[in-house]
Every structure is written in C-alpha cells, then in structure tokens.
Symmetry: C4
Subunit: 210 residues, 4 copies
Amino acid sequence: MEKYITEFIGTFFLVLVVALTGNAAAIGVVLMVMVFAGGHISGAHYNPAVTLAVLIRGKVSRYDAGIYMIVQIIAAVIAALIAKWYVGDMAVVALDLSSRLLKAFVSELLGTFALAYVVLNVATSKGTTGNSFYGLAIGFTVFAMASTFGSISGGAFNPAVALGATIIDAFAWQNIWIYLVACFGGGFIAALVFNFVNKEDKPVPPLPTA
Amino acid sequence: MEKYITEFIGTFFLVLVVALTGNAAAIGVVLMVMVFAGGHISGAHYNPAVTLAVLIRGKVSRYDAGIYMIVQIIAAVIAALIAKWYVGDMAVVALDLSSRLLKAFVSELLGTFALAYVVLNVATSKGTTGNSFYGLAIGFTVFAMASTFGSISGGAFNPAVALGATIIDAFAWQNIWIYLVACFGGGFIAALVFNFVNKEDKPVPPLPTA
Amino acid sequence: MEKYITEFIGTFFLVLVVALTGNAAAIGVVLMVMVFAGGHISGAHYNPAVTLAVLIRGKVSRYDAGIYMIVQIIAAVIAALIAKWYVGDMAVVALDLSSRLLKAFVSELLGTFALAYVVLNVATSKGTTGNSFYGLAIGFTVFAMASTFGSISGGAFNPAVALGATIIDAFAWQNIWIYLVACFGGGFIAALVFNFVNKEDKPVPPLPTA
Amino acid sequence: MEKYITEFIGTFFLVLVVALTGNAAAIGVVLMVMVFAGGHISGAHYNPAVTLAVLIRGKVSRYDAGIYMIVQIIAAVIAALIAKWYVGDMAVVALDLSSRLLKAFVSELLGTFALAYVVLNVATSKGTTGNSFYGLAIGFTVFAMASTFGSISGGAFNPAVALGATIIDAFAWQNIWIYLVACFGGGFIAALVFNFVNKEDKPVPPLPTA
C-alpha cells in the first residue's frame, strides 16, 4: 500500500508540473525530487514504461507492476483535471504531428530508451548500489531528452504523462498510440540492452507478489 | 544555541534571496546550499511549516520547534528589512490574489505538501540515511513548485518567507492568512502521509527538550 | 563487449544532443546522465581525448582504448546522420574560424584539459573513490567550458563530437585538425599533470588486454 | 607542491570563466567542478578569503595559507591576461560603485560570509565527513550570491576574482579595497561563527608547516 501511495504522489506532481509549466527544467527537477523522495519506498517509477523496463529486468513483481501502472494512470488523470481547473477555458491547440509522425515516434522511442536505460543502471544495478545520484540522473535525463525532442514530439517519454497532456488538449487523442507504442517500446528495448550488458548482474525472474 | 544560530543564518539568506531576486532558480539554490551547510546541526528547516511537519514526525522536540519558529520569523523580518534598505523607495505593487484566492490557497497547500513530503523522506527517513542529496532534493523542490505556482500564489510555501514578502510589499497583508493556513496545512498533511507510509520507520513521540 | 556497447550508447546520445540542440545546458546534462549510467561498466569516456588521458593514467588497457575510440567515432557518425535526418535539408553555415584560429585552438586545448583533469580526479583517483558526484562534475565541466568557449571554437572538447558537428556542417572539414590536435593535446597534458600531482596514487603501466 | 598546482589550476579556470562570461551559472558551475576535482588534494579554496577562513578554523597551516594566497593571485593575474588576449581591445566600462559604496560593501561581506560558512560546514566539518555534495554546495553558493548581489557589487566574493576583474577593467582600481576588506571580513566572521557553532568539532590550532 505504501508503495502505491508513493507512486501516486510522484506521478501526480510530475504530471501537474508538466501540465502547468511545459518547462523542461521544472519537469526534470520535479521528477528528480520525487525520485529522491520515493525511491526508497516504491522504486520511484512514476512512468508505466519505466515500470515495464523494471519488470523485464526483474526488480518488480508482475502484480506490483500492474498496480503501479493503474495508479500512475489515475494520478495522471487527476493531475490533468486539476491543471484544467487551474488554467480554465483556455483554447489550447494540440500539437500537430501529422507532418512528422515518424520523427515523433523515433523521438519518443529514443527518449524513453535513454530514460529507462538510465533508471535501470542507476537505480537497479549492483555496480551503482548505494549511490546518491539516482534522482539527479533520472530527472535530468528527462530534461536533456525534452530539450532535444520537445519541439518534435512534445517530449513525454511516459505514457502517463502523454495521457495527462492529451486530457488537457496539449496532445491530440489521435496521436496517443504513438506515445503508448514508442514509450513502451523504448522501455522494452532498454531492458533487453541492460540485461544483455549486465549479464553477471543477473536479471532474476519476476518477483512473486510482494 | 548552535541550532538556533544555524536556523537564523539559513532562513536569513533564504528570505534575503527571495526578497532581492524573486528568482526561482536562485531561491531553490540558496535553500539547497543552506540545507547542505546546516543540516547536520539544526536539521535545516528554515521554514515553520517544515518544522511543524518534522515535529509531527517526531524528529524535533516541542521546545526546539517553538524556538525554531520564533528564530525563523526574526530572521525573515531582519532579511526583509535589509532587502528594503537595498531597494529603497521603489513602489512595489503587492500581488493581487482577489481573482484567484482558492487557486492561490491550493497552490500553497500543494507546494508546501510537496516540500515537507520531500524533507521528511530525504532528511528524516531510515530508508535514505546517510545520503548526499538531501539539500539538492529540498532546494529544488522549491524551484519546481515556484516554477509551477509562482505566477498564481507567489510561491512562498513557507510562512516565514511569506512574512518577509509581505514586509517588502510583494505580498498584501490581507492575504497573509492564506500562507499561514495553507503552508501549515500542507506541512501537516505531509507529516500524516509520511507517518502512514513509513509505519515501520516508527514516528517517535516528540523528543523531550534537547 | 558490455563496455563497448556502453561507450556506444553514451557517445551516441551525447552527439545527438549536441547536433540537435547546440545547447550547453542540455549537452552538459546528457553527458552527466550517461556518465552516471555507464561509469560502472565502461568508465564512461564517450570521448577519444578522455580515453587517451585515462590510457596515460593507466586505467584502461591499450587494447580497450583503441576499441573505445573506434566505437566512439562510429557512434558519433551514426548520431550525426540521424540528426541530419531530423533536420532535413537545412542550410547550415559552418563555423568560420579563419579570423581566430589560434584562439579557437587554445579554447579547445584549455577546455579539453579541464575536462580530462576533472575526469581523472573524480573518476580514477584514490582520493575520491566511491563518490556520488563524478557524473555531475564531468558533465558540468563541459557546460562551463562550452559557456566560456562556445562562441569562439564551437566548444567540442571531444574529437568524436567535433566529427559529428562536422558531418552536420556545423563545423568546417578544413578545421577538424584543430579539434583533433587541441583535444588530444589537452587530454595528454591533463594526464601528465594528474600523474605528477598524484604521484602516490601511482599511475600503473597500461593494463594488459582486459 | 601538488596542492599549490591544484590551487593554481582551480583559481585559473574560475577567474577565466568569470572574465570571459560574467555569467553566474557558468561561474558557479566551474567552481563546483574544480572543487570536486581538487578538494581531495588542496582543499580546493581558490579564494584567499576562504583560505583565511580555513586558517582560522585550523584546517590549513599558516605556511600553506600564505602560499595558497600567492598562488591564487598569480593564477588570477594570468587568467585575466589570457582573458584580455581573448577579448582584445574592447572598451570595457568599469562598474561604477560611487552611488552605492556601502551597499556594495555589505553585498561582498554577506556573500563572502555565506560562501565561507558553506565551505567550512561542508568541507571541514565532522558532521558532514565523506559527503558527495561539497562541490555542489560551494559552487552554487556563488551562483546564488552572484544572482542576488551581482548587479550591486559585481559579485566577486573572492579577492583573487576581484583582482582579475580589475585587471580586465570590469572593476575599477579605486574600488579594489572594498573587495579586499569586505571579502576577508566576510571570511573572518564566518570562521568565528563556525568555531562558535561547532565547539565540539574543536578548531585545532593552525597546523605546523605541512
């Protein structure tokens, strides 16, 4: 239960800052502080694509992974609705990706790959156990990727963030599949690469219900 | 005595930077460095709402909590007066919240909740003992929250900062109750959540006078 | 093999962010997160001049140093080609150094010296073993140096980055020798200085093939 | 000897970045990385006022303190001359403090106090031994103070930096006494406060020649 509350709080503030600021620095920073605050309790995913990567790497149980994703989505919806209450009836024009669908897709794939690759290495690897930089590394990966790909794809790298951005009309509903496929795909590939590169740091089979 | 001097110095520089710059990055950074400098002596609250949260979590005595709050307020007043001396007779127009009282209230509540939640997790929790990121996490929570809510509520998340901002006429006297109620409320809720989520990291009853 | 994949991923994202943003903050940050993610596997050089410095300091084998450099160059080329695909047929005017060749050379020499000096001290020195700041220090050295010298030399401090920048026509082919000579020169001098200053932290002879 | 070279390199890059950028973020960052790189060798003062504070706190010998200050001044002069070579015959108008001498003095005093207070707490205190944040805290104190006081006093907080800024005509020669008196004064007061607040962390008498 503690873990689910932690995932809720972290994802809620992440999506709230995304929706109210759209600012890469603020977004990277709020992710950083929420990872530092919640990492010792839930692992601080706040992102279904990261949860998928950690599941494949064997550091979260299937049961918890499922609950995490549901909680992340609920938190994103609530944060988006609060953001809507804040900004009121502003006419927002959703990001139009029609001229660059493939580029947007590749951007989300690369950005989420980088994010999940960093998470697995700094938060689940034997070689970095006990470090004090995991939140800094994870949060600022989103800053770097959003600075690079934000103008192309919107820079979600997170299906829950993409859902929140779609609810507030910053993203178009017709494009949400891009974020689902590319983000989960990026997390999936990152987990495969991590497991290959860290063979001695053996990925264990998914934990039984914890 | 050492603890009170430390709280004075930290709160003084925090309010001075708030009053002279109003810049979220400078404010987050000065809080970070003062937390790193003073955390090992006083716990580095620099904020009555944080002191309330740490009191409920059982990591400061009632006696010290009272003195901390008094010292924080004195430091904020002195810093605000020095800031006034710096800027001279500039006509400042106090932030007008009349069109968005509820939004401002919720902003201070959410922002202070996030701040106290991060403080309790990174500076008082067993799970993060001995970490080297507590100042970074705490200071940059204020940066993220001020980036998000600054244009709505002014972004104090701290009754002492709100008092300083009111003395220099950046905030209106008639609105100070918002910062008092919302900030202490946010700290209070964060402590309840922390105690619930960290049951095994048992909140001890308030320490006797130390 | 794991090490080479790690060098590939880190250098790839570094050059991609350089090519797509040209922004000193994003560049410093992506280097930081990739160093935090990969340091425990490959040492996280992502830079042939750093690999040369680490070779002289005796912390990478000659064999690995050679492969690292080849992998870094391949990663830079691929990242540059992907960046070209992103931006399309934009007419880019390559940086014209003709009026300030010497200043550009000195800039790259000083900047790469600083970078390699920081790397050797925070990532290979006995005196800083087990620290949690190596990525922060290394990444932000590039930020500081690029902020200082970017307008003079372009701010590569890395032959692989310089190659990538040349492929996307940000740098001119006729100037690439500057980056090769100055960056390797800066790394070389940094290693000599490090070995002199850290005599007791004895540079070992280059490791045999690992 | 190693220590003096380290002080030279750190002060050189600090003053070079100050002189070529005048940018608070770049300055704070270069100080951070040089502190992380050199702290384990020389203590990473790079500032005669910090050396004075560390001398009073008893963590550097009188002999070393003297050499450190001389080396810092030499490094600042050389960096300033190189900066002059870079910018050429630009007409620089030195900061005119005549209308705000007292405010400039207080700014340098407060800023250097904060810097030396942070240095003593994060780099010489028992309570923070072995931390990984000392460079971050020290460098970003300069960022916060320069953001606050830069437009008033120029934001040196360091006699060697002030000398460098005067050589490149950013500061006026007639004002250099302000930086000398206020910076050494701020460092002096910080050391007294530290020694008072950390009585159990006994300041030892100045070390004999090391």
